[in-house]
């Protein structure tokens, strides 16, 4: 076999890795079993005349889905594999399929003659545009063999001249195919060698996914040996001049730029080279290693940016060391994929599409970043902020651009804290995400651009692609993926972008809640009995009944200080919190009122924050009175109906009375109309109860009933309701309204009865009703066994034996609202009590399903927030709640 490795300009990691073997001239004398090694992620181009056995070869060595043949594509577009007129369209399809597979990172084999340079060039360009390597496998069989094979096939009706022409093309190609741009060209000569060949895949050099760490990833060192040693020691490493090891077997990963500018580039190289050689460290190439290596190789480079320091220092070293250092730097590759692909280290970062890829473009991105071609006022290249748009699941760790503070941007972090400019040398511990750094001993090198200017935090920008179209969102509670339909996303987008608060505050939107099965009790549409029965049937032993405040739902995000808000939420306008509605709108139009409310809540919650050890928290509340937010709606909708009824019905009654006086048969109608007047009065009382005047904070009440999240904890998901109610009951401020509640043991009829009486009293005095919730926290994330945070109120001893009823996680409603008889007039209209039989015919299925999905999304958003996931991940889930809320579900439920 003949194999030609083709070094590529700019240095493809893999291309350089492959040694030249064999010689085209002596290729015929190959061993019996020829091994062809192709990259695991690559395009393999088969080259050979018609009848050379390409399809047979492909079938033998690759999976059927990996092979795309031109014949197959011709068949797709023409129903005839030999229709030459369809060839251009067939290749369009072939290129489309190949491009899609390569974009998705799949090994792909093209089965076409490819004897002409133009055909191969298109495939090479295609592979390069997707940043994958491309190999050629040439099947060179004698002309007679190919002609004989074609003659034996009934579907090949072309004559031998076609094969002869193709062979002529192939001969011409073989002379210069090594210059086509393939990484390697594998030439198999003769039927025997083709038959005997074996194909193996070799993984990319960047692929070290099998290494799981733990890692200490170290930022740009720039010749600061003393600081490097100090940092390693601080991290627990045992350091010698020529190497270091960690007693716990940690692996160091250097992000590159070990050299230049600093006082001891050779010392740093010696240490890192020793670590890499000993297997205790990995190192990716920085742009400074690349340039230094070029200079040492005698290439012409502009000596600037501290290169001179390195050259001077290295010239004092023995020749032997210089050679070793050059080989080391020359051998550094662009990036590593580690820990199953969950961690990527590259000097200047790497966008997701480039992870594990190989091309000059990938290497250039990894070494220099995403440059725009513009330069700033200091003459330094302007870099495109790729990290802002990064949406990958892998953590990307890099250096290259000095920053005053390392900070997370969409699961990426820059560790270059400018030690050589007098800053610090920083390491990131993986997977713990701990940042460790040591200060510079001095300013070793004056920066061109003022360094460590007060940091203006890069605001995280959301992309339309984070929310647009049909979406499937994976949630940890309730399990699985939740679908959001495009039309609902569209409606949510309008509300979100026109009215919602800054998305950095918008960390949660409350889910909808279902009512119980409809009651058959006389005069009732809803009653606690059905709610208790449902939970009991689902295997829930204890529930809490919480008073349902009739106000407007409000989510309060509170930070201890504006600084804490900036640190946690990235909002730097000096605000320290937000209060918003169920649709994410600022609760009041007047920013001053919101500001005052936030300040008041912050001070009320300060002891709670102390207790939770958190500088911030998110509360789920009801804000009273209803009229504070909804006065426009109440006047427009509810009071209007009342006004119309109060003016129309008495005149109608008068007309009916007059008609009755004339002896007309309107008695039944008169009775009914009098009853309706009474209903209208009750209706008016129902809404009026929830209206009272408010001025600023005067008259306002806030009833918090759940602590949604605080630092590191999505408490809504992990703590039982008793924990929330107890913690919130300790808030002391006249603004705070308590949430009355009772606990119910569903096994006890008396307990159920007592709660029912409580509900009756609550609703008789005009209350909205209550919410019944399972006392324990929701089932843990998929895969976890025990639900976290058992309530103290119902210890294990008090629990009944496991019930025979199977509780399917995620299927138990998180809460059921049981609304009062008078309150429901606001929902179903003043006269709803006249048509209970019709109204009982209501369908809860959609509402219940929606409540479950929205609840799961809400917990997902809070979990993502608590775990410090990027803004777009939190926003995705929050947005989905709003989108689902626009689904057509009976709004009275």
């Amino acid at each position: 076999m003949t194999e030609t490795a083709v070094p590529e300009d700019g240095g493809d990691d893999l291309a350089r890795a492959v040694p030249e073997t064999g010689d085209p001239a002596t290729g015929a004398a190959a061993p019996a079993a020829t091994e062809i090694a192709v990259p695991a992620m690559s395009l393999v181009v088969l080259v050979g005349v018609s009848g050379s056995g390409k399809s047979t070869f492909a079938r033998r060595h690759f999976a059927p889905t990996q092979v795309i043949s031109s014949d197959f594509c011709r068949g797709l577009v023409a129903d005839d594999e030999n229709d030459q007129a369809a060839t251009p369209d067939a290749f369009d399809v072939l290129h489309y399929i190949v491009r899609t597979r390569l974009r998705r990172g799949l090994l792909t084999v093209v089965d076409a003659t490819n004897v002409q340079w133009e055909a191969r060039r298109q495939l090479i360009d295609l592979a390069k545009s997707e940043n994958v390597l491309v190999d050629a496998v040439v099947l060179d069989v004698p002309e007679e063999v190919a002609i004989a094979r074609n003659e034996a096939r009934p579907d090949r009706d072309f004559g031998p001249q076609v094969v002869r022409r193709q062979r002529k093309d192939l001969r011409r190609s073989l002379g210069k195919i090594s210059r086509d741009g393939f990484r390697r060209v594998h030439v198999l000569r003769g039927v025997e060698q083709i038959e005997a060949a074996a194909v193996v895949t070799e993984k990319a050099w960047t692929d070290r996914r099998e290494l799981t760490g733990p890692f200490d990833i170290i930022g740009d060192v720039h010749g600061c040996r003393a600081e490097l040693e100090a940092l390693l020691r601080k991290l627990g490493w045992e350091v010698t001049p020529a190497g270091a090891s960690h007693p716990e077997g940690r692996t160091a990963v250097f992000v590159g730029d070990l050299v230049d500018r600093g006082p001891d580039t050779p010392g740093v190289l010696r240490l890192v080279m020793g670590m890499v050689a000993a297997g205790t460290a990995l190192c990716v190439s920085g742009n400074h290693e690349q340039k230094l290596a070029r200079a040492l190789n005698g290439r012409k480079v502009r000596v600037a940016h501290g290169l001179q320091e390195s050259l001077d220092q290295l010239s004092a070293e023995p020749e032997e060391f210089r050679t070793a250092a050059l080989a080391f730097m020359d051998g550094l590759i662009s990036h590593y994929q580690l820990d199953g692909g969950g961690l990527v280290v590259a000097h200047a970062g790497l966008k997701e599409a480039y992870h594990g890829r190989a091309s000059g473009r990938v290497r250039s991105f990894a070494l220099y970043g995403d440059t725009t071609g513009e330069t700033d006022e200091y003459g330094l290249p302007v870099r495109y902020p790729w990290a802002r748009e990064y949406r990958g699941r892998a953590m990307v760790v890099y250096g290259h651009t000095p920053v005053p503070e390392p900070e997370w941007i969409n699961n990426t972090i820059c560790l270059d804290t400018g030690v050589v400019f007098g800053g610090r040398l920083t390491a990131l511990r993986y997977p713990s995400r701990e940042i460790v750094s040591v200060p510079a001993e001095k300013v070793w090198y004056e920066p061109v651009k003022p360094f460590a200017a007060p940091g203006h935090r890069d605001p995280e920008t959301l992309s339309i692609d984070d929310v647009r179209g049909t979406r499937h969102i994976e949630v940890r509670y309730g399990g699985g993926r939740i679908k959001v339909r495009e039309e609902n996303s569209a409606a949510a987008l309008e509300i979100m972008s026109r009215f919602a608060v800054d998305p950095r505050w918008l960390v949660y939107l409350p889910p909808t809640m279902a009512p119980p099965e409809t009651s058959r009790l006389d005069g009732h549409l809803e009653h606690p009995a059905e709610a208790f029965a449902e939970f009991a049937a689902a295997g829930v032993g204890r529930v809490v009944c919480e008073e349902k405040h009739m106000g407007s739902r409000a989510v309060a995000v509170l930070a201890r200080t504006p600084e804490a808000a900036a640190a946690r939420f990235g909002v730097e306008d000096g605000s320290a919190g937000a209060v918003y509605t169920r649709t994410g709108r600022p609760f009041f139009d007047d920013a001053a009122v919101i500001g005052a409310l936030v300040d008041r809540l912050r001070s009320a919650c300060a002891p709670l924050m102390d207790e939770l050890g958190s500088d911030w928290l998110v509360l789920d509340c009801e804000l009273l009175p209803w009229s504070a937010k909804a006065e426009g709606l109440i006047r427009n909708q509810y009071a209007s109906v009342g006004a119309a009824a109060r003016t129309a019905l008495p005149e109608t009654i008068a007309a009916l009375e007059a008609a009755a006086g004339r002896g007309l048969g309107v008695g039944g109608l008169l009775d009914r109309t009098r009853r309706r007047l009474d209903n209208a009065a009750r209706f008016r009382d129902a809404y009026a109860r929830y209206c009272w005047p408010v001025s600023g904070l005067e008259g306002l009440r806030v009833a918090p009933f759940q602590i949604l999240a605080c630092e590191g904890r999505a408490t809504a998901a992990t703590e039982p309701h008793s924990w929330h109610l107890e913690a919130l009951s300790r808030l002391e401020d006249p603004l705070i309204a308590p949430t009355r509640h009772v606990y119910v043991d569903l096994d006890s009829e008396e307990s159920r009865q007592a709660a029912t009486v409580w509900w009756e009293a609550l609703t008789a005095e005009g209350g909205e009703g209550m919410v019944v919730k399972p006392l324990t926290a929701p089932a843990g994330p998929a895969g976890s066994t025990a639900p976290p945070g058992r309530t103290g109120a119902s210890g294990p001893e008090g629990e009944a034996e496991p019930r025979p009823v199977e509780v399917r996680p995620g299927r138990v409603q998180p809460g059921i609202k049981v609304r009062g008889r008078e309150y429901l007039r606001i929902i179903y209209g003043p006269d709803y009590t006249e048509s209970l039989d019709v109204l009982r015919n209501r369908f809860l299925g959609r509402k219940r399903s929606l409540a479950l999905r929205e609840h799961a999304l809400g917990l997902e958003a809070l979990s993502r927030l608590a775990e410090g996931e990027p803004l777009w991940r939190v926003h995705e889930a929050v947005f989905a709640v709003l989108a689902l809320e626009s689904e057509p579900v009976d709004p009275r439920l």
Partner: protein
């Protein structure tokens, strides 16, 4: 809901002949949403009163329609329809008194042909415009009007009056005319959202208004309100979200074009199209005497030249609104100014960010110098209207290829915004909450980064020139800037994103106050 018709004709009981309803009987007429009854509270020689009582069952009203209809909203159960004299009453009246409305009366033909003394009362008439509008609409028709506003809630006097009026009309009017006037004017006064407008509404208006509408001084307002607003089915989801946030849906409606009217008085509005003109263009639809149709109409069903021009977008001022003292509407002047600047800049590809219903997009498409025109808006509703107005479905391929319309939001970065010579933000920034403006700046100037950005926004200083304007020019405006504030904002944007800016006046440049609209033309890079 109740309507009474009384007469002092001698004998007054002849009213029974005129109405074709016997004074001593209670008659019932089934309607799809309830029952209409006619009975006589009094029937003497001197005075006879017929009462039309409509029993609306709101539950049936809702259940008679499917879940996907636009009025599938909370408001439909808690509804004034069972009490107020709305279009449902107008429909019932048309149905129950069909013959009387046609002016036919075999037994008393001379009474049916001429004016008779009538007194009509409506205890709860929804009247958007208040008692004053009731006077304006009924007095020209020969009625003595007594209209009293009904307070919203005596317990909350600070809430003021409701939209209901107790109306009593007295006059010598032909009964058929009176009934036709009520049939047309009840929904006009109500001016509620017409969720279910049938395609033959125009015909009905023509027939019912035959003898009196053409001469009515308020015929423009009557026609416009009668034909009402069109609501696409797509509004459902939006309405649900409005409700969820305790908001009034109308308050959230997307802004379209919104220059203040020179006068707020409805009477000063330019006359709308004559009914007779619309009749000729309206395709003959099925004739239905039963009043407004129950059942939603597909948005396509109302698509015709006549109806189109009658459509009034929410929040829009009428076509023909002019800036004070000028001859041409400010929105047209602004549109031309923007298109002119784009030509001057040599921009061939343009994206209109916040395109609304596509007026600028349409103007740019008309000029072949613009080889690629895109319009984006966050409101799906606005885009639907834009597609209809631009007649997207029958646009020739060659023109269609130059155009792109899509939903997008200016607070989210969007690759589709990039790659244009120029971007336009015409009357858009003032609809963004100030704290969210930096996000828009990043999306437009930082990420999309076109060669030029043309921004227009109201000049707040000029507002004093609008006589009837209180507050801002549109309820959805989050702010309006003075020239200095606009300039300061522009300077900050230039500094942050490396643009340069020049300012232009749009409209009459008042020496003291500046122009009604201010325009900033940003250019990427360049020298200051």
């Amino acid at each position: 809901m109740l309507l009474t018709i009384s007469t002092t004709l001698r004998p007054a009981t002849d009213l029974g002949y005129l109405l074709h309803k016997h004074p001593d009987r209670v008659q019932e007429f089934g309607q799809s949403y309830g029952t209409a009854r006619v009975f006589y509270p009094e029937a003497s020689e001197e005075r006879c009163t017929a009462a039309l009582m409509l029993d609306v069952d709101p539950v049936r009203l809702v259940r008679s329609r499917g879940r996907s209809t636009p009025d599938y909203a909370l408001g439909q159960y808690v509804n004034d329809r069972p009490y107020a004299a709305s279009s449902l009453l107008a429909g019932a009246l048309a149905d129950v008194f069909r013959t009387a409305r046609a002016g036919r009366c075999a037994s008393r033909p001379e009474l049916a042909a001429g004016p008779v003394p009538l007194e009509i009362t409506l205890p709860a008439l929804p009247c958007r415009g208040g008692p004053e509008l009731a006077h304006r609409l009924f007095e020209p028709l020969g009625w003595a009007v007594e209209a009293r506003a009904v307070p919203l809630d005596e317990g909350f006097p600070e809430w003021g009056d409701s939209r209901y009026v107790r109306l009593a009309l007295r006059g010598e009017v032909r009964l058929a005319d009176a009934l036709n006037q009520l049939y047309v004017l009840l929904p006009v006064l109500d001016d509620a959202k017409h969720y279910w407008i049938a395609p033959d509404e125009v015909d009905k208006l023509i027939r019912a208004g035959e003898s009196w509408l053409a001469a009515h001084p308020e015929r423009g307002l009557i026609t416009r309100r009668y034909l009402g607003r069109r609501w696409a089915l797509a509004r459902t989801a939006f309405a649900r979200l409005a409700e969820l946030g305790d908001d009034v849906e109308e308050d959230l409606e997307p802004p379209v074009e919104e220059d203040p009217e020179p006068s707020r008085e409805e009477g000063a509005e330019p006359p709308a199209e004559e009914p007779s003109a619309t009749a000729a263009e309206e395709p003959a639809g099925p004739r239905d005497e039963a009043g407004p149709r129950v059942g939603a109409v597909e948005s396509g069903a109302v698509e015709s030249g006549a109806v189109e021009s009658g459509t009034v977008e929410p929040g829009t001022v009428e076509p023909g609104t002019v800036e004070p003292g000028a001859k041409r509407p400010l929105n047209a002047v602004r549109r031309e100014a923007v298109a002119g600047v784009l030509r001057e800049l040599g921009a061939h590809t343009v994206i209109d960010l916040g395109c609304g219903t596509g007026q600028l997009v349409g103007a740019l498409l008309a000029d072949p110098a613009f080889t690629r025109v895109a319009g984006t808006d966050v409101s799906a509703h606005a885009l639907t209207v834009a597609a209809r107005k631009l007649r997207l479905d029958r646009m020739p391929d060659r023109q269609r290829e130059r155009l792109e319309l899509f939903q997008g939001a200016l607070t989210y970065t969007d690759d589709r915004f990039a790659g244009y010579d120029a971007a336009v933000l015409m009357e858009v920034v003032e609809h963004v909450d100030l704290p969210r403006l930096p996000a828009l700046e990043r999306v437009v100037f930082g990420a999309a980064r076109p060669g030029h950005v043309v921004v227009t926004t109201p000049n707040a200083e000029y507002n004093v020139r609008y006589e009837f304007l209180t507050g801002m020019r549109h309820p959805d405006h989050r702010f309006e800037w003075t020239r200095a504030e606009f300039a300061a904002w522009a300077a900050k944007v230039c500094d942050e994103y490396r643009y340069t800016v020049a300012f232009r006046p749009v409209g009459d440049d008042d020496p003291e106050l500046g122009p009604p609209t201010q325009m900033a033309v940003f250019t990427l890079g360049g020298t200051r």
